[in-house]
């Protein structure tokens, strides 16, 4: 492999990995506040891309993306209110099953609205053929957008959870719901916020990749499982680790194309999942003890 090819693989790996990371971050946010694995996470990415596409037909790109993120965030919030909130006494298992059902419903509604055609959002800068030369590799400017915005999101989240009152309140909810309530934190609001946040972040990711990977009504389920693998790989509940894990998985998949038929690209990720579950279920960056105390 030439160094240009290697760079090419690296960039494509980082691109895909960033999206996986965003989905995984969404999983972690919801998991941290509720203990649920929200398998509808992938659908938020799809919705972001689709809604932005439709809106961009009648307005310019930036407001379209912003609105798409907000609308999807609202959808996330709605899902929490309508479905999740009622399920107080359900087992973790039941919750996961419900999120599967929800993802199917979202998918079918998307099919109804946008049918089976592939949609793609406009490139943020340039178009399909513009490329930037970086150390010999030619990459689309969109890649820089993806990597850049993902990095921004990660930093913003870090600051949010660390230094803002709301962020800390959300973290408090995850460690000890009862204590949080006693301190006057409205846990139900935190839960709703976590769904909104996860949906919004997913949607932004969807807008970012749409020009490159295109948006299709059925893309959600694959992202759901890839995102889950990344979340587990990094350690469930650890949003920062999810970023590292996402990039790692993206790179592995990208390089695997060089020696495996495309079809088996997904097989590799799932095998990684099984290997991790067997060897270190707490993930690459998780601690054994805390994970054994959690429900999932």
């Amino acid at each position: 492999m030439t160094s240009e090819q290697i760079l090419q693989y690296i960039f494509s790996g980082i691109t895909v990995g960033s999206i996986y990371a965003l989905v995984a971050i969404g999983y972690n946010i919801i998991y941290n506040t509720t203990g649920i694995i929200n398998l509808a996470q992938g659908e938020f990415v799809m919705l972001g891309g689709m809604i932005a596409y439709s809106l961009s037909q009648i307005m310019s790109l930036v407001p379209a993306v912003v609105l798409a993120v907000l609308i999807t965030g609202a959808v996330g919030s709605l899902i929490e209110i309508v479905f999740i909130r009622r399920m107080k006494k359900s087992s973790v298992l039941g919750m996961i099953v419900i999120t599967i059902g929800i993802s199917i419903i979202i998918r079918e509604i998307a099919l109804l609205i946008w049918d089976e055609q592939i949609r793609a959002l406009r490139f943020f800068t340039g178009n399909e053929i513009s490329s930037i030369d970086i150390l010999g590799a030619r990459i689309s400017p969109q890649v820089l957008w993806i990597v850049g915005v993902t990095a921004l999101i990660v930093m913003a989240l870090y600051l949010f959870f660390r230094f803002t009152l709301t962020g800390q309140a959300m973290r408090a909810c995850s460690s000890n719901t009862r204590a949080a309530k006693l301190c006057g934190i409205r846990t139900s609001r935190m839960v709703n916020l976590s769904f909104m946040l996860a949906a919004g972040i997913g949607a932004l990711g969807g807008c970012l990749v749409s020009p490159l990977t295109q948006t299709h009504y059925s893309m959600g389920s694959e992202l759901a499982i890839k995102g889950f693998i990344v979340a587990i790989l990094g350690g469930l509940g650890n949003p920062m680790a999810a970023v590292a894990a996402g990039l790692l998985l993206g790179l592995i998949e990208s390089f695997s194309i060089s020696f495996l038929p495309m079809v088996y690209k997904d097989v590799i990720s799932i095998l990684i999942l099984l290997v991790i579950l067997v060897l270190k279920p707490s993930g690459l960056f998780g601690s054994r003890q805390t994970s054994s105390l959690k429900d999932f």
Binding site: I37, F83, R86, M87, S90, V92, L93, G94, I96, V97, I98, I100, G101, I102, S103, I104, I105, R107, E108, S221, E222, I225, F228, I229, I232, P261, M262, V263, Y264, D266, V267, I270, L273, L274, L277, V278, P281, S292, K294, D295, F296
Partner: protein, 352 residues
């Protein structure tokens, strides 16, 4: 042997005969096709019911095992061995009667493996795969099995969709009929439609008998104790890890067997049978029927699959099952046939 407990089975058999006669009388004999297919899907659901209802684990990959069954038999029985028959291994198989010589509709003669062999191989393969996934994953606390099986299902889907030998998007067709006993052949020919109906439901009854026996036995009781917490079972000497794996394997083998039979009945199989949507369907049926309620699963499986196969849900087929799943889990988590759920339904019908 206490015959009293088999009364419901006899009742079921009676109902099945009644249904068949009804279709005869009303001239709707074509319903038998969907009823036959529904039966095989019920077998998958019954196996899953053991895993979900009794062991309390969720499998989102039953369609994957179904596909392992179907594709194994499809590949092995459509692979023409005519030019290989001279080789010693195949000559030997031929001698002991494991190869089938046929003349196709077009007049060519082909030689293929006997469906009995592919059936057994399919079950063994499904069992081995289930064991390999189950042992590492079921050791973990929590519901990792759900995700691992979902991943497994997706792998199978990708493999059959993208590999030439499995027919890629078109799947495999021209799968020959499966003569399981003299006079009983599993195949799509109209003339044997009625036999196929009864054969399919015979397998359902067989599955019910085996599972009903199991539930009231030592191992069945151990399985039931797993639901809702393994600490008790562990403390009473149940090797919970091993039991969870075993029941998972049983569920996989049931699914694979159903896959084999349906593939011969339909004369082919396609990648959609291994999709996550199909796996979700099986979960929905088990949930609606009542997780651990075999009769509930049978009834709902028959009902829902029949309607789906008749095309009642149209293009929203998958959506319907998704919605059912959500509604059941939210409002009737014990399934429709439990007292709590029935009361709720009564209240709703009365206008709260």
């Amino acid at each position: 042997m206490k015959l009293k407990k088999y009364y419901p089975i006899v009742l079921l058999a009676g109902v099945l005969v009644l249904i068949q006669l009804l279709t005869l009388i009303t001239g709707t004999a074509y319903y038998l096709t969907q009823l036959t297919m529904a039966a095989y899907y019920v077998v998958v659901a019954l196996g899953l019911s053991m895993v979900m209802g009794y062991a309390g684990q969720i499998s989102l990959g039953q369609a994957g095992f179904f596909a392992i069954g179907g594709y194994t038999t499809a590949v092995l029985t459509t692979f023409d061995l005519t030019d290989k028959i001279s080789r010693p291994f195949f000559a030997f198989l031929d001698k002991i009667g494991l190869l089938v010589h046929k003349v196709t509709l077009y007049g060519d003669s082909i030689v293929h493996l006997s469906p009995w062999i592919s059936f057994i191989l399919a079950l063994v393969l499904a069992g081995v795969v289930a064991y390999s996934i189950g042992v590492p994953v079921l050791r973990l606390k929590g519901h990792y099995l759900g995700m691992a099986t979902m991943g497994f299902g997706i792998i199978i889907y990708r493999i059959v969709l993208g590999t030439h030998i499995f027919g890629e998007a078109d799947g495999i067709s021209n799968v020959p009929a499966f003569p399981i006993l003299p006079g009983i052949t599993i195949g799509g020919d109209f003339s044997i439609r009625i036999i196929n109906y009864y054969t399919a439901w015979f397998f359902v009854i067989l599955a019910m008998v085996l599972l009903l026996n199991l539930i009231n036995s030592r191992t069945g009781r151990a399985l039931r104790s797993l639901h809702g917490g393994e600490d008790a079972a562990d403390a009473m000497g149940v090797n919970t890890a091993q039991y969870k794996v075993k029941v998972f394997v049983i569920g996989a083998v049931f699914a694979a067997a159903a896959g084999v039979f349906i593939t011969h009945y339909n004369g082919g199989i396609g990648p959609s049978e291994s999709s996550v949507a199909k796996s979700v369907r099986y979960v929905a049926i088990v949930a609606v029927g009542g997780m651990a309620n075999l009769w509930g699963v049978l009834i709902m499986g028959l009902f829902l699959n029949f309607l789906s196969l008749r095309g009642l849900f149209g293009v929203y087929d998958d959506a319907v099952f998704g919605i059912i799943l959500v509604i059941i889990m939210m409002f009737f988590p014990d399934g429709l046939f439990q007292p709590a759920s029935l009361n709720r339904i009564k209240r709703i019908l009365r206008g709260k």
